[in-house]
């Protein structure tokens, strides 16, 4: 699905990613954990194509194409989705119209006809039930006046609507209460299948109680310093990050 090789990225001259190597196959769920400032969110932003970062070295192959050469919207059209740590508000743009435009832009890119109103509404109904998003939120402006939890649920709802091949969750669990966490996790779990991969970025173990990853990686100072199975997350929760840092030295 995605093959990241020796990826170096910096912002304003400070190198943040110092050679990331990570290969994710279709059907897999990977979790990246790590202390604050280790470069977790930078990795998500670089993969999604945020402009603020300079990539000095490395390559990223996404479904056989060079990801780093693509504009952000092309990456999305190719099937990459990012659930944001802080989803933004877009006043005056209704959630439904936003999704319709996004969906049809992606379809047009793939040479598909726009969805009919009936098909679109059917999909809307099915997917909003998945994240327990009530009609009120769908009709409102994108994220405007939403609570933190509602914004995150809306992002998962968008993910379900757009049906990407590869989804990155950037600290989706931060600021969520237990109920919202469960809803978000259910949304992700229901989308897990052999053709789709996930990269879950998180600081805490608790999201991984609900979404069991195939692999857990520990990121520290811009490098993946340890990789293991789901049990690694539990170990981190217990011991904290310091022992990893020491072990890495």
């Amino acid at each position: 699905m995605i093959d990241i090789k020796n990826l170096h990225a910096s912002v304003e001259g400070n190198e943040i990613l110092k050679g990331i190597n990570l290969k994710i196959n279709a059907g897999e769920v990977h979790a990246i954990m790590g202390p604050n400032g280790s470069g977790k969110s930078t990795l998500a932003s670089v993969l999604a194509g945020r402009e603020d970062y300079e990539i000095s070295e490395g390559s990223v192959d996404f479904l056989g194409k060079n990801l780093l050469e693509m504009d952000p919207d092309v990456r999305a059209k190719e099937g990459l989705f990012l659930a944001f740590q802080y989803p933004v508000e877009i006043p005056g743009v209704s959630n439904v119209n936003f999704l319709k435009l996004a969906l049809n832009e992606i379809r047009a890119y793939k040479g598909q006809e726009p969805l009919s109103a009936k098909e679109f509404l059917g999909r809307l109904k099915e997917k909003s039930a998945l994240v327990e998003l009530d009609g009120r939120l769908k009709d409102r402006s994108v994220n405007e006046g939403f609570s933190g939890g509602e914004k995150k649920r809306n992002d998962i709802f968008q993910m379900a609507m757009l049906s990407p091949r590869f989804a990155i969750m950037d600290e989706t669990d931060s600021g969520l209460d237990i109920d919202a966490l469960r809803i978000v996790a259910n949304g992700v779990n229901s989308m897990r299948n052999k053709d789709r991969a996930f990269l879950i970025i998180t600081h805490y173990q608790r999201l991984l109680d609900h979404i069991t990853p195939d692999y857990v990686h520990v990121l520290s100072e811009g490098r993946i310093v340890k990789t293991g199975g789901p049990e690694l997350a539990l170990e981190l929760e217990e011991k904290g990050y310091d022992w990893i840092k020491e072990a890495a030295l």
Binding site: I90, V93, F98
Partner: protein, 482 residues
């Protein structure tokens, strides 16, 4: 590039017409440049006007001669040479259009680019269209349907001939000849425009619409519109403007007067898309317009405008809330790009008791443009319990553009309540990235965000105009990332 294409087509069309018109007397169709009493007499004579109209024009000309151009607006431009302008230009081919299919193909193309053809608009939405090309009204449709209800909707020239008593009674009562420099100029030389009268208690069943177009080079357009809504009547009026690309600056100095008698309501919507000049600020229309409405008791006037065109705009659609309980509204989206300059806003003059006004202004500045909101809210001594709410938002698309707000508030009655809110924001990179990450390309993302920002105003437009306005914003913002 698109403008070049349009220019080419336009040249073909006008070139042909020129050939065609060679055997007719071309000189009589366009008055030589310059302004004098003789020119005014000539215009009046060509239009076969009654004596009182000529006297009115000449009086305005005298007043204008004693006035100087206003300089207080936040705009900079080379003042037009009023002696270099031709004050009357009629289409060379004498057109009597039976259907809108015969309308200028270039305009139709522009309309098609906006996703809406005049014909379609007419068919779909029951719009009665009056079409003013250069100075002369060439087509007014739906006259019969309206006639049955006693509604008069025709070109100003025709109204002066057929309903002189109505024109004479109302013209210049809301915007007097000496109101300002451009209003005086317009009063002296106006060549056409639209006239509309809605009789007592009649609700006009369709949108009344006028398309203005400057076609000829070296001409000015000075149209004059007068809408009179008699007691208890209602009408909604749409005004659209286009002009082809020209290197020189063209002058457009219009006057619009609205009169809403007791219990009447007028909705006046404008989509202004005059040629804004090229990327380097060369050419474009100078849009110096005076628009004002008078509200009698319980009357209501709503101005809605979407301004994307013109090199320089100077325009303040206003309401005089004379009657008790009358209501004035102003909803505006003004978008400037490249080197465009806009100084626009409104005046709400509260005179009657319990009068209310609402102002929603959304400015969008891109490129190197300057966009100013200028508004006056005046509460007179007798305006007990007057209320005003103003909201002025500015959105900056680039760091080289400017947004300015000049609100003036004058309150002479202590029971008044006046609220003013203003915000300025830069288009968010985070918002853009969010849209892109969902598969929406940059240009579409910008247009989505801007349309969302302007939604409160766009919602006030009649349906078919709202679609046009949205597309227009999209086109006007092409290539304005930064």
């Amino acid at each position: 590039m698109e403008f070049n294409e349009e220019d080419k087509i336009l040249n073909e069309v006008t070139g042909k017409e020129y050939e065609f018109g060679f055997t007719t007397n071309i000189e009589s169709d366009k008055v030589p440049p310059g302004l004098s009493e003789d020119v005014i007499r000539l215009i009046s004579e060509k239009k076969n006007e009654p004596e009182w109209m000529l006297a009115w024009r000449l009086d305005a000309f005298k007043i204008w001669q004693g006035m100087t151009e206003p300089e207080w607006a936040h705009v900079h431009y080379k003042k037009p040479d009023f002696q270099a302008i031709s004050y009357y230009s009629a289409p060379k081919k004498k057109v009597t259009l039976n259907s809108l299919d015969e309308v200028d193909p270039e305009l139709l193309r522009t309309m098609e680019r906006l996703g809406i053809s005049v014909n379609e608009q007419k068919r779909l939405s029951n719009v009665a269209v009056d079409f003013v090309m250069d100075s002369v009204s060439v087509a007014t449709s739906f006259k019969e349907t309206l006639g049955k209800l006693g509604i008069i909707f025709m070109s100003m020239s025709e109204a002066i001939q057929k309903h002189p008593e109505l024109v004479k009674k109302h013209i210049g009562t809301v915007v007097p000849k000496r109101d300002n420099f451009y209003a005086a100029l317009n009063s002296a030389v106006f060549t056409d425009g639209s006239f509309c009268y809605i009789p007592k208690g009649v609700r006009c069943p369709m949108e009344l619409s006028t398309y203005f177009r400057i076609n000829e080079s070296g001409t000015g357009q000075f149209e004059r519109t007068l809408v009179v809504a008699d007691k208890g009547s209602y009408c909604s009026y749409l005004e659209g403007c286009t002009a082809p690309a020209r290197d020189e600056n063209q002058l457009h100095a219009a006057v619009v007067e609205l009169i809403a008698m007791d219990d009447a309501e007028i909705k006046y919507s404008t989509v202004q898309n005059w040629y804004p000049g090229d990327k380097d600020g060369k050419g474009g229309v100078f849009n110096f317009v005076t628009k004002r409405g008078l509200c009698e008791r319980n009357a209501k006037i709503s101005w809605t405008q979407v301004e994307t065109g013109s090199a320089v705009t100077w325009k303040y659609p206003s309401c005089i809330l004379k009657g008790d309980n009358s209501i004035g509204e102003f909803y505006s989206v003004a978008l400037t790009n490249n080197y465009q300059q806009a100084d626009t806003g409104t005046k709400m003059i509260h005179i009657g008791k319990n009068t209310r006004s609402t102002i929603i202004s959304k400015g969008i500045s891109s490129g190197h443009s300057q966009n100013s909101y200028r508004g006056l809210v005046k509460i007179g001594r007798g305006a007990e319990n007057a209320r005003n709410f103003s909201q002025c938002d500015s959105l900056l698309m680039t760091s080289t553009s400017g947004a300015h707000t000049f609100p003036y508030i004058e309150v002479e009655n202590p029971s008044a309540m006046v609220e003013h809110e203003a915000t300025t924001s830069k288009i968010g990179e985070d918002q853009l990235f969010y849209c892109q990450q969902r598969g929406i390309g940059t240009e579409k993302a910008i247009s989505l965000i801007v349309n969302g920002y302007a939604k409160e105003v766009l919602n006030k437009l009649p349906m078919e105009f709202a679609v046009e306005a949205q597309k227009l914003l999209e086109i006007s913002l092409e290539g304005s990332v930064g």
